[in-house]
Symmetry: C2
Subunit: 369 residues, 2 copies
């Protein structure tokens, strides 16, 4: 899959006191204006942020000039090409050189930025990230992790993989657990995260063969991995306070993620319909405005915006294709937090440690199954 | 799996003008009182319904006597045993003779009732149904279908399989499509249902190998099967008006179902929190009471209560374990509708026709993939 030389490029350290984020400004459904507006929102909140912005120079220059809060904080890198939502990942891997997405990832590869943010085509972004950043030593399948509104004190659970790969074997699921735990510790400040394995029932005899095997692996690895393993969880547990990190294969995770989003949107639409029904209910909606806004904020997908690619030499944050300024800003905030916490190095250390422990854990898994 | 003689028992016709439903009154989380209360609700609405009720005779007799609307309409069959939620299906298959669940299915097998309803353990109910009713000729894997609140004119989509079997090959997915289409025609009055195949993307190159093969099979079989095939659909399409019947394997379907239920419940709880926040919002909630009740009715899982087991010699309706009288009554209503429409015979004919067409369709699928 990769045409790259195996020699790792030494990382340039970013300027002291500043966090550099590489942003692909093209390829989202709302175009570069929404992305630049999101950058401006983040710039106000976090004075340490600087951006390397990739895309059409003239267009970006004009947009950035209009935002005073971005003055002197953006480095524009011109790229002619744009990866569209229709492009196939395999095409982009062969011919994507020259696109803003490729360029944004290249900045991470060259060590100019520690993290890249893009609203573009997920499949292409993953394929390019794999090609240019390469997998972390010890990682077999990288994963995409997302946040899920929940009843946890922090308000969110983590789920992975939500679509990097449609397959996952038991050792892959163990790696997802280690990566998800590291993300929960550094991105969500959960010291000793609770990990659950998504299945069709909580009894030990349920589910597919690889899940039974992963169940043994996770049980054996919890202590060394610094997480608590709570066993199998079901779809209904995704927003629960039983678990902090939900581990599953990318096929199931993607279906669950989109089902959850679709259901929340359906209920929201039904709620709007209900309030629009009569004069009385319209008046009630007016009175309840503050409460309804509070609700909307809790389940607003824009505020949990940002799937993270885990398991590569560098962090990539995938924002929703339809993200507006608020959504882009949420994705940038996540990228900023993770960089500040030194997430990338910690994750790499954790995965290396897990890979070293794996053969032993795998043996015990097979013996027990 | 079956210890049964292969000779089909000839069906006794139910009394003219009446629809007989076999009800397992035990094994639900709320006990027989909730089940009998649900029967009473249904009895008022549908004067043609009669019941054969299975469980502890004395307990049931006392409960039924208290409901005037059930007078003269129930036939009690004593059964000592109860299948609990903790019982493993394999144990029940070996030792379940004498339980109310076994007895309820036996009434369908003997032709005394055309459909059975139970709130009990899903795995055990499926195992017993397979054992006693046996699979319809031409069916490889029976499936559980559920209703899903949606933006469709009728308000519901159908999804299957939601948990009968954790595996499904391409020909199984085709059978699910045929069975789901038959259910949509007879249970939801949709003449020419739109079928979609659940996947992680709508592009033809996406997803697992069996999905690509099923895509070819469904494309080739749509005309003969009297359905419209709309191609791949995603998790976000489950409540959409793009599709009437969503076909998937039982692992993915079960995760999606429970994720959707869990998300709707989360949003509902958040809504309650939001309205309880201030005096103003409490007053608003009071004003909006009618609208909120309307919303609750639209997404109330009790009103879409009833997973249907398809692909057996007889129909079995699985009600939620936690169903109250409203939930049980919804499950009975579904059982009643399907019986009235002659669903079982139509489904059998459709599956037989599909099985006959399958080798041809499969060839074309393999040639194209």
């Amino acid at each position: 899959m990769t045409t790259d030389s195996p020699n790792a490029t030494p990382r340039a350290q970013p300027k002291q006191g500043s966090v550099v984020i590489s942003v692909d400004a093209m390829g989202g459904d709302r175009g570069p204006a929404a992305v630049v507006a999101g950058m401006a929102l983040s710039a106000v909140k976090n004075p340490e942020i600087r951006f390397i912005v990739h895309g059409d120079h003239d267009q970006l220059h004009a947009l950035i000039q209009r935002k005073r809060e971005l003055a002197g904080r953006c480095d524009i890198r011109h790229a002619d090409g744009v990866v569209t939502m229709e492009d196939k990942p395999s095409q982009i891997v062969r011919k994507g050189n020259g696109t803003s997405m490729w360029s944004a990832i290249e900045s991470v590869k060259q060590g100019e930025a520690e993290v890249a943010v893009s609203c573009g085509n997920t499949g292409a972004l993953m394929a390019l990230s794999m090609l240019r950043l390469r997998k972390l030593p010890g990682v077999n399948r990288p994963a995409i992790a997302c946040l899920w509104p929940s009843r946890n004190p922090g308000g969110f659970n983590v789920m992975l993989d939500v679509g990097a790969d449609i397959r996952a074997d038991a050792p892959d699921l163990l790696q997802y657990a280690l990566m998800g735990a590291s993300y929960a510790r550094n991105g969500l400040d959960i010291e000793n995260p609770r990990i659950g394995l998504l299945n069709v029932g909580t009894e030990e005899h349920k589910g597919r063969a690889e899940l039974k095997q992963a169940h043994e692996l996770l049980t054996a690895s919890a202590e060394a991995g610094n997480f608590r393993y709570v066993g199998f969880v079901e779809g209904g547990d995704l927003p629960s306070d039983r678990v902090d990190v939900i581990v599953t294969d990318g096929f199931t995770g993607n279906i669950a993620l989109k089902t959850g989003e679709g259901t929340a949107k359906l209920v929201g639409d039904f709620l709007k319909d209900a309030f629009a029904k009569s004069i009385m209910s319209k008046f009630a909606a007016l009175l309840a405005m503050t409460s309804l806004r509070r609700l909307q904020k809790r389940i607003d997908p824009r505020r949990v915006n940002g799937g993270i690619f885990l398991g590569l030499n560098g962090t990539v944050v995938k924002s929703h294709g339809s993200a507006d300024a608020t959504g882009v800003s949420a994705a940038i905030k996540l990228a900023f937090q993770l960089t500040k916490s030194g997430f990338q190095d910690r994750l790499a250390a954790r995965v290396a440690q897990g890979a070293a422990a794996l053969p032993k854990a795998e043996d015990s898994g097979e013996a027990a199954s």
